[in-house]
Symmetry: C2
Subunit: 130 residues, 2 copies
DNA sequence: TTAGAAAATAATAAAAATTCTTATTTTTAT
DNA sequence: ATAAAAATAAGAATTTTTATTATTTTCTAA
């Protein structure tokens, strides 16, 4: 029933994504694990993240600043993107208006994606100081 | 008052984006114009699209399948993305729920982006035939 | 209208993110 | 333990986009 084999590296990559609320890039995951697993290869991170995503073990909220952002939360939910520091934050209190899908005039709608952008709290603070 | 100079190529690039309801990539614009302007360079298309976008003469709805999608409509509006053929279609009848921005708990919200995904009519037809 | 400064362009190199290739190593079922 | 199957490292290759530089075009104003 196992859909794939396990390896120390593979497990570490999955655990890395699952243990952060941030929305990491492949490069970030690689940088996190490299100290503990010195012979880890970036290609392995890319390959496994793609596999986990396809199997639904992790999610991806899309590309921000040219880099794909993975996430542990695989349920549809709203995001906030800071266009200063590119932080991606889950907005659990505001649900995407899925019901509006019936009003979309084209094609057959499957998903509804809601995203807010602006300055995150940290960048707001930094702006005030500057 | 002119914010930039004009050239035949520059004007053609802007007109190309303004005359289509599709959400073209730089490559697409280049392919459209190349037959009429054989010495057009792809770098020129990229450079001018970036400039038009910065000046607010055109918009960009983001990156789909690794390619930035420009658009003539610079007003905030909803999009539909076909995840089969990557077509991007404006959804003018459903407005992004901007008012929900006040319920977002993090940072200072500036924009609200609403996107639907699914199969466009053409891909639905093609699926039925197959 | 024409000279000359400023900006735009073509061609090409370079950068950045991601994917592919291949030889080797690890995992897992037997 | 063994052998087949899958995973990995290293590095090459691809893809999209940006930067560099020599040349050409645009625009200003004399």
């Amino acid at each position: 029933m196992a859909v794939h084999k396990h390896s120390k590296k593979r497990d570490a990559i999955l655990e890395c994504v699952r243990s952060t609320a941030s929305h990491p890039t492949a490069e970030w995951v690689y940088a996190q694990l490299k100290p503990q697993i010195p012979d880890l290869s970036l290609g392995t991170v890319y390959r496994n993240l793609a596999m986990f995503k396809q199997e639904g073990l992790i999610g991806s909220m899309g590309v921000v600043d040219g880099m794909e952002r993975f996430e542990r939360n695989t349920e549809p939910h709203t995001h906030f993107i800071c266009h200063q520091c590119s932080a991606v934050i889950d907005v659990m209190d505001v649900d995407p208006p899925t019901h509006l899908g019936s009003q979309v005039g084209c094609g057959s709608v499957q998903d509804c994606i809601l995203t807010f952008t602006g300055l995150c709290n940290q960048c707001v603070s930094n702006s005030a100081k500057a």
